[in-house]
Symmetry: C2
Subunit: 121 residues, 2 copies
DNA sequence: CTGAACCTTCAAGCTGGCTTGAAGTCAAGG
DNA sequence: CCTTGACTTCAAGCCAGCTTGAAGGTTCAG
């Protein structure tokens, strides 16, 4: 696959793929006359990056996650120790806002400042 | 309260409070000889902003949320219609990464690329 | 009344995560 | 061979969300 096809199938711009490669998120693909050739595995890698990023991880942190080197089970505990609490906090905040949005359509406050529903159950 | 005390109690810089005011996230406070004087309510507003932001809302979107004007129950449905799906997607991604991190410490993959645990149960 | 600590505005700078543009190379059909 | 479209690199630009710096005004304890 050439870069354009990867981009199209992953729903991103080619510039993003080159950028990810620059910062070490994607491996250096094989080259044919200077042009990048990818195999299917890059698509899965892009999903991993996307999911991790939306879960609040920075590209730097994701690089640690997708890096080759020591086995995953050796690298993961340190990553998880730093990141799990943050992810759990994110989930809690997001659920709080979700619960509030669901509940507050039925409230009669003028502004969120006076809405007791925001402060939780 | 002067701006420094608000900043300290909220755990942010004064520059951030002025910035939030500039972009309409905080109300124009009373002034004494040009200096801002806040009451306690600003602290609650800052919590709202923080929670909403961590739940993935942009400052622009939060401005809609905290704005005065029409009653909340009139403004909220449109905001929720746009934002609830995004928040729910965020929660789903974050839970997926969390579940993976918890499970994967006990896996023997070399890299995340080959870790079937990532793809869910 | 002075000096330290705090406040003001305004413009410019910074980081993360990309995108855009210029200038040039490669591939494939007519 | 020539054109068209996809590719290359590299530098610069952009947006959000702040922070920093300069230059100056205010407050208050001593």
């Amino acid at each position: 696959m050439r870069i354009g096809e990867v981009a199209e199938r992953a729903g991103v711009r080619t510039s993003r793929l080159r950028y990810y490669e620059d910062i070490g998120l994607l491996p250096q693909p094989e080259r044919v006359s200077g042009q990048r050739r990818y195999d299917e595995s890059v698509l899965r890698r892009l999903v991993v990056i996307d999911v991790a990023q939306r879960a609040g991880m920075s590209l730097d942190e994701i690089r640690d996650l997708v890096a080759a080197g020591a086995p995953l089970s050796e690298r993961l505990p340190q990553i998880a120790a730093r990141k799990l609490p943050e992810i759990e906090a994110l989930i809690e905040r997001a659920e709080r806002v979700r619960a509030w949005m669901v509940a507050a359509v039925a409230c009669d406050c003028q502004t969120i400042d006076e809405c007791a529903l925001f402060d939780g159950p």
